[in-house]
Symmetry: C2
Subunit: 499 residues, 2 copies
Amino acid sequence: MDPLFEIELDLATEGSRDAASALYGRLRAAIADGRLVAGARLPATRKAQAFFGVSRNVAMQAYEMLLTAGYAVSRHGAGTFVAPVTPAARAVPLPAGGDAGAALADTAGRLNPFWTRPAVRAAMGFWEEPGEQAPASTKKGPAIDFRPALIDSRLFPFDVFRRVSAKQLRGLERKPARLRSAQGNQGHFLLRQAIGRHFGMTRAVVCGADDVLVTSGAQQAFDLLARTLVAPGRTVVAIEDPGYPPMRVAFAAAGATLVPVRVDDEGLVVDDLPGDASVICVCPSHQFPLGVAMSARRRKALVEFARRRGAVIVEDDYDGEFRYDGSPLEALRATDAADVVFFVGTFSKCMLASLRLGFIVAPTWAMATLVAAKNCLDWHCATPVQMSVAGFIAEGHLAHHVRKVREVYRQRRQLLLDTLAAQLGDWLEPLPSFYGMHVAAVARAHSDLDDVADRMSQHGVQLHSLARYHLGPPARTGLVFGFGAADLDDIRRGLALQR
Amino acid sequence: MDPLFEIELDLATEGSRDAASALYGRLRAAIADGRLVAGARLPATRKAQAFFGVSRNVAMQAYEMLLTAGYAVSRHGAGTFVAPVTPAARAVPLPAGGDAGAALADTAGRLNPFWTRPAVRAAMGFWEEPGEQAPASTKKGPAIDFRPALIDSRLFPFDVFRRVSAKQLRGLERKPARLRSAQGNQGHFLLRQAIGRHFGMTRAVVCGADDVLVTSGAQQAFDLLARTLVAPGRTVVAIEDPGYPPMRVAFAAAGATLVPVRVDDEGLVVDDLPGDASVICVCPSHQFPLGVAMSARRRKALVEFARRRGAVIVEDDYDGEFRYDGSPLEALRATDAADVVFFVGTFSKCMLASLRLGFIVAPTWAMATLVAAKNCLDWHCATPVQMSVAGFIAEGHLAHHVRKVREVYRQRRQLLLDTLAAQLGDWLEPLPSFYGMHVAAVARAHSDLDDVADRMSQHGVQLHSLARYHLGPPARTGLVFGFGAADLDDIRRGLALQR
């Protein structure tokens, strides 16, 4: 088992939770790049603690994964061995390489090069694991996660959701016809109805079930809008800079020309919009990642611009339900702009990202085309999940849940702002924001943020700089502090680590 | 209530099942096209039977939908009235029109014209309601449904699926980290593992979890492959003619040049492939819609063509688990062609279409790029559904279910072939096929199929001609008889109706 001595198995930061997956991944990588050669015997699972620092049970799970994936073979009584022919070797006559290099192995040029562009990979990079996160305090390691766009899955009422889901599935059993997609590829009627009611109340988006199209999360909404609003090679799409990279990728993939537009303390600088922009993507309530809200006059100017130029607006309202301060800001779509605004909402923040449910409230003139494109993408979203969420909303659990977690996030946000002022006030100035689960802070003159960020990352703190969200050159340097996956204890400990 | 006298409310064929949705749809259409004017009072629900032929409860549900959608307003004690400003009028300053014309209302040209092409609409048209169907014998009306690509939802073990789902959700509740998409945007590991095992057994597709990418049904697999394999405007994609229209739309939408290639009794005519084809889409086991299997020598020639020209093959194996006769035909991917074949499987036929789950078994060199594109499309499929299906397979229910329903469909198929021979043998000759839930039959010389089809449709039988599946000029005329949604009684009655 000599080869294993060279395998870096830094499992400490993983916690016991995903240890089996992590061990599997490391072993697989070692096999793929030849550190573990065909025929090598893996350590006996009873020695797992000594070799890998994990329990025997965890090692057995990891070995099972290797066996299933074809990377290992089991010889009865003798143990587990690296397979003589691994999946990669079996399938490809091309120069292999590890997982990361797999896409580059298409030497025959059979793949659309868009997806292998480094910029595209980087934009989606972090986001390969969006969604729920357990705060660091529940983990073994020191990792504290300040990345934005994550939520705390511990707050979700799994018991209630399970009860509602079981009830909905019983309904299906009695009346299987309800499972039929005839209920509408636009989305299950009961869910569209529930969305209209709930977001009409919380976001003042007045819409009926007919105005709503259910998507597989906000990301599919962006992709669907890109594919219906963009004429490849001709359409200019204005995006906020800084902004949300995966949305940009969706529009770029559809063949749009992206034009980054500056954001200041009043939101998108409407005067800077290119005259030929026919799609404008904005987050008016809680700009991502700056957090600023778009001012009333900018909103008015933006809608006027769209009407005058025949353009449309894509409003990303990813966390608009979590407002803490300030006067209520209606969604852009809530004003008299239903003819030009596509409102994108999601259940990833107010429920769970792993449900993959979001929606578009669309202008009437576009709905039939959106449904035609949705049919081509995947017909419709999984009916059981749609019905479960519809039941969850209709029974009032969503409204209750949002009220409850808003209080939790409000406390985290306050502690974050207080601690930033007390400990990092000399370096950073938080930008005003009233919504959501993150706060951005820009550097004061002469402060060296790289230094601060470096020290924190050396302690295992995950933290994003504003720069990573820019397409154009960054106007200001700064940091983004998400508190969806960082609880009060994490915030205290994490911000102390910069010293 | 005069206007209602002009409203065609042909609810008899709907059964009581979807009566509320149907009534809602008809009333909404009447409001949209002006037959029901603003301010008109809708009939009291206690008169629902007289006006609409439905129960009071059904009418109340339909009115509730109208209220929610904004088409009606309720005045306390006075009844329900058509809203003064309906959603369409509220949102669009453009000439309105009914639902069907909504896309045409984009007079400003803001939508990608691809989706409004009549050919695209027609190709996806029928397919707006794919999936499960209750056979006619359970419905009130006379409608018998011989359309292909449907299954009989009554055969699905909803009770078992509910039990498995509840168990999986309890697992989530105890261990919410499992919900994390970190389990892999490529698909939940347990599901990919289960797919590898199940389809390795039933279809001889030898693959590990790492070779599998989970998609939202086969349609998303086609869309994903189109977007990764097609360079817009440059890539030539060869498709079987006749073939499955929604797959064509996915490739056309991605900017491919489609070249239809003839299919004979040995499957795709490989010699007819255009030399510059870089993607070739085939159904080797049970060609859609002809039903023929691809011969061994054609398979060999196809793989050789792909290797020689640097092309790839997309294998659509939509119902490969349902084999009745003949020697086992391995999937194309099962042979030594893992380097050039993308195998597309689906749970829509062997489980339920409304689960929206399918998968791609991909060559290793392409997987990282497929995952990058999947991230852009929607990150990953809904985790609760993935886990439920993984549990359903792992506990052996899928294998059991397939064995059970295969016997049901085998009987239907035999009755269909016997009855076709006895009653329509002079007009039609069934094409040999060993798989799936439909049989195609071509016209004998001089037989007038339009006449047969017309008589049947006059009796409410839904039946597709081969012509609708052709992109080029049809070589042979014929009919397609699906028995997924038509049970033994339907087959007997439906085929008798041609006389």
